[in-house]
C-alpha cells in the first residue's frame, strides 16, 4: 500500500514535470511563430540591445515615432545633441547619430540591405547607386508608397537638405497628405510629420524618393508548383533564368496563394489553404522552408484573396467573401488570426477584384465588376464601406479584367481588359474610373496572361504570357504596349504558374 502510494506520488511528480516542459515548449513555440509572422525590422545590432544606442551615446532617447519597428531617435545635432559617428558593421561608411540621414541609412540597411553610402539628406536619393530601388522625381507623375526614402530641401539656410522615411500615404485624385518619420528636424518633434500633397506634388521641399518596387507588388519572378515530385516547387527569376529549385513539394497551384507572411517586404511566401481539418492554413516562408501551420481554418483558396487590410505594408491579410449572409466578408489579419467581420455582403469572389482604389498605398479596396447595366463597377473602400459608384457605365465582368498600375502612380488601381478580339485588343481604364484607352492590339486573353513588373521599373504594368507553344515560349509586352519580347523558351502554361518576388 505504502509502495503504491509512493509510486503514485512519484508518477504525479513526473507528470507534473512533463506538464511544465510541455507548457514551456508550447509558449516558446507560440512566441517564436508570432515573431516569425509579425516580425518588424530588427533593432540595430550596433545598438547592443539599448534603445536608441543610449549606452554608447548617452543622453539619446526615442522621439516617439516609429515605422516598421524603427525608432526615430534624438536629440539631433540641431536639437542640442552631441555627435557620435557609428559604423553599422566593420568597414561600413560612418553615420552620425542622430542626424536625419542616420534614420534613412539605418532603414535602407535594415529593410533593403543597402550599405551606408556617402550622402547628406538632400543627396540620399541621387547618390543611391544600387539596382534594387528606383529613384522617383517629385514631378507629379508618380506617388510614393510607405517605406520609401525621401530627400528634401527646406529652403533658405538648408545646406545639407533633409531626409526620412514615408510612413503612410493618404492621397485621393492627387490631393491629400503623407506622413513621414524623421530625425533632427524642427522642434518640438516626436519624429512624425504630415506633409501635404497637391496635384500629385509632395510639399515640404521634397525633391524625390527611393521606391522599393517590391513593396508595391513589383512582381517579376515566375513560381511554379508542378505537383510532380521530380520538380517540386521552382522559380524562374525575372521569368528568364533557368529553373531554380525551391522546395520538394507536390502541392499544386490550386490551393496556393503568394503573399508576404513573414513581413520581409517580399511577396515570396506560399500559403496553402488546404481545406483539411488538422492541417488548415500553412505557409512555406520564401517558398523554400518547411510548412508552418498558421491557422486551423478549413477554408479553401476558392473563396480567398490576399490583401493589406491592416495597412501595415504587407500583403498578408486573407479576405474571404463567403456569399453567406451569416458570415459576409471577413478577414484574417496576417492569415493567422481569427476572422474579423469586414462588411455584411453576400457577394462572392467570382465578381471581385482587390486593389488600391483610394490611392492610400494599401491593397484593401474591393471592386465589384457586376456586369449589370446601371450598377457597373462599384467599390467598397477598405472592404468595409458601403458600395460606392465607381464606373457605372462598365458592364464588363471580372473574367476578362486584371488590376495593374499602367499610369505608374504607384497604386494598383488601373483596370486592364483583354477583349480577345483584333481591333479592340487590350485596353486600360486608368484608376478604374477613366474611359478605355487602347494598349496593345492582341487577341491574347487572360487564360495565358499575368501582370507583373518585368522591366523592374517599380510598376505592375508588364503583361507576361505563357502560351505553351514552343514557337512563342514565355514572352512579355512591356507596359502592355510594346511588341512581344521573348523571356524564356518554355512550354509551361499558366496552369502551374504564379508571379511573385522570390
Amino acid at each position: 500500500m505504502n509502495n503504491t502510494c509512493c509510486n503514485m506520488i512519484a508518477y504525479l511528480r513526473i507528470f507534473k514535470r512533463f506538464l511544465i516542459v510541455v507548457i514551456v515548449v508550447s509558449v516558446a513555440t507560440v512566441i517564436l511563430v508570432a515573431r516569425v509572422v509579425y516580425a518588424d525590422l530588427p533593432q540595430p545590432a550596433w545598438w547592443g540591445g539599448n534603445v536608441c544606442d543610449s549606452v554608447t551615446n548617452p543622453g539619446s532617447y526615442p522621439l516617439g515615432g516609429s515605422y516598421n519597428g524603427q525608432l526615430a531617435c534624438g536629440p539631433g545635432s540641431n536639437q542640442g545633441g552631441g555627435y557620435l559617428i557609428v559604423h553599422f558593421y566593420n568597414n561600413a561608411f560612418g553615420v552620425g547619430e542622430w542626424e536625419c540621414v542616420e534614420l534613412s541609412k539605418r532603414y535602407l540597411y535594415l529593410a533593403y540591405g543597402v550599405a551606408p553610402y556617402q550622402a547628406n539628406g538632400g543627396e540620399m536619393v541621387d547618390n543611391y547607386s544600387g539596382d534594387d530601388l528606383v529613384k522617383v522625381a517629385n514631378d507629379g507623375s508618380r506617388l510614393p508608397s510607405p517605406g520609401d526614402i525621401f530627400s528634401s530641401y527646406d529652403g533658405v539656410g538648408d545646406y545639407w537638405g533633409h531626409t526620412g522615411v514615408i510612413m503612410s500615404v493618404n492621397i485621393s485624385n492627387g490631393n491629400g497628405t503623407i506622413t513621414i518619420l524623421e530625425q533632427n528636424h524642427a522642434l518640438p518633434s516626436n519624429g512624425v510629420r504630415t506633409v501635404s500633397v497637391a496635384n500629385g506634388i509632395l510639399g515640404s521641399g521634397i525633391v524625390g524618393w527611393l521606391h522599393n518596387p517590391v513593396d508595391s507588388a513589383g512582381l517579376n519572378d515566375i513560381f511554379q508548383a508542378t505537383g510532380l515530385s521530380e520538380y517540386g516547387w521552382r522559380v524562374s527569376y525575372n521569368g528568364t533564368s533557368a529553373w531554380q529549385s525551391l522546395l520538394a513539394s507536390t502541392t499544386t497551384k490550386d490551393s496556393l496563394v503568394v503573399g508576404d507572411f513573414d513581413n520581409d517586404g517580399k511577396d515570396d511566401d506560399v500559403l496553402q489553404a488546404s481545406g483539411v481539418s488538422g492541417i488548415g492554413w500553412r505557409v512555406s516562408m520564401n517558398g523554400n522552408t518547411a510548412w508552418q501551420t498558421i491557422n486551423g481554418s478549413t477554408t479553401t483558396k476558392s473563396t480567398l484573396m490576399v490583401g493589406d487590410f491592416n495597412q501595415d505594408g504587407h500583403m498578408d491579410d486573407v479576405m474571404q467573401a463567403t456569399g453567406l449572409s451569416a458570415y459576409g466578408w471577413r478577414v484574417s489579419i496576417g492569415g493567422n488570426t481569427a476572422w474579423q467581420s469586414l462588411k455584411a455582403s453576400t457577394t462572392t469572389m467570382g465578381s471581385l477584384l482587390l486593389g488600391d482604389f483610394d490611392s492610400d498605398g494599401y491593397v484593401d479596396d474591393v471592386m465589384q465588376a457586376s456586369g449589370i447595366s446601371g450598377i457597373g463597377w462599384r467599390v467598397s473602400y477598405n472592404g468595409t464601406s458601403a458600395w460606392q459608384p465607381f464606373n457605372t457605365s462598365m458592364t464588363i465582368t471580372k473574367d476578362s479584367l486584371m488590376v495593374g498600375d499602367f499610369d505608374n502612380d504607384g497604386d494598383l488601381d488601373d483596370i486592364f481588359y483583354t477583349s480577345g478580339v483584333y481591333g479592340t485588343g487590350w485596353k486600360v481604364s486608368l484608376n478604374g474610373t477613366g474611359a478605355w484607352q487602347s494598349l496593345k492590339d492582341s487577341t491574347a486573353t487572360q487564360s495565358t496572361l499575368l501582370l507583373g513588373d518585368f522591366d523592374s521599373d517599380g510598376y505592375v504594368d508588364d503583361v507576361f504570357q505563357a502560351t505553351g507553344l514552343s514557337e512563342y515560349g514565355w514572352r512579355v509586352s512591356y507596359n502592355g504596349t510594346s511588341a512581344w519580347q521573348p523571356l524564356k523558351a518554355s512550354m509551361t502554361t499558366l496552369g502551374s504558374l504564379m508571379v511573385g518576388d522570390f
Binding site: 540641431n78 559617428i85 559604423h87 556617402q118 527646406d154 539656410g157 533633409h162
Partner: protein, 170 residues
C-alpha cells in the same frame, strides 16, 4: 665612538637632503606639467575671404576650409576639415569639400526665423552677421579610427566656434 657618530650623522644628513631634493624635483616636474596643460596653445585661423578669424587649439591648427557660395549666394557657407583628417582617409570623402567637421553659414538672416533652425548653442553674432554652425551629417570614412578622429575634431571645432569673430584691420 665619537668619530663613528659624526660620520653616521653626516651620512644621515646627506640622505635626508638627497630625498628632499628628489621629492622637490618630482613635485616641480608635476606642477610644471600641470601648468603647461592648463595653458593651451591657441592658434588663429584666418578666413580672409570673409574677414573672419577663429581660434582653435593645437589639434586643429591644421584646419582646412572651403567657401561655398553656390548653394546660398548671399550667405556664404564655410566647410571645414583638417589636413590630418584628409590625409587619414584614402577614399577622398574627408576633404573640406564634404565638410566633415561641419560648416558655418555666414548670414544676415535671423537664424531663429530660418525654417531649418539650429539650436542656440550653434549660432552667435559677429558684427552684422549671424554665424550658424551645423554638424556634418555623416562620417566621412569606412575606417573606425578615421571616424574617431573626425568625431574628436568635430567636438573641438564646435567648442571653438564661439570664438569666431570679425578680423580686425591690421
Amino acid at each position: 665612538m665619537t668619530k663613528n657618530i659624526s660620520y653616521n650623522t653626516r651620512y644621515l644628513y646627506a640622505t635626508v637632503i638627497f630625498l628632499a631634493v628628489a621629492v622637490l624635483a618630482v613635485v616641480t616636474v608635476r606642477y610644471a606639467s600641470a601648468v603647461s596643460d592648463s595653458i593651451e596653445e591657441i592658434y588663429e585661423i584666418k578666413i580672409s575671404e570673409l574677414g573672419l578669424v577663429i581660434q582653435v587649439p593645437r589639434d586643429l591648427s591644421d584646419m582646412t576650409y572651403k567657401i561655398d557660395t553656390t548653394t546660398f549666394p548671399e550667405s556664404p557657407t564655410i566647410l571645414f576639415s583638417s589636413s590630418l583628417l584628409e590625409d587619414s582617409d584614402k577614399d577622398g570623402f574627408c576633404t573640406s569639400s564634404y565638410g566633415p567637421l561641419g560648416l558655418i553659414t555666414v548670414t544676415k538672416l535671423d537664424p531663429v526665423k530660418l525654417k531649418y533652425a539650429p539650436s542656440y548653442d550653434n549660432w552667435h553674432s559677429a558684427g552684422e552677421y549671424n554665424l550658424i554652425y551645423q554638424y556634418p551629417q555623416q562620417g566621412c570614412s569606412r575606417d573606425a579610427k578615421v571616424s574617431e578622429l573626425q568625431s574628436k575634431l568635430i567636438n573641438i571645432l564646435h567648442k571653438s566656434f564661439v570664438t569666431t569673430r570679425i578680423q580686425e584691420n591690421e
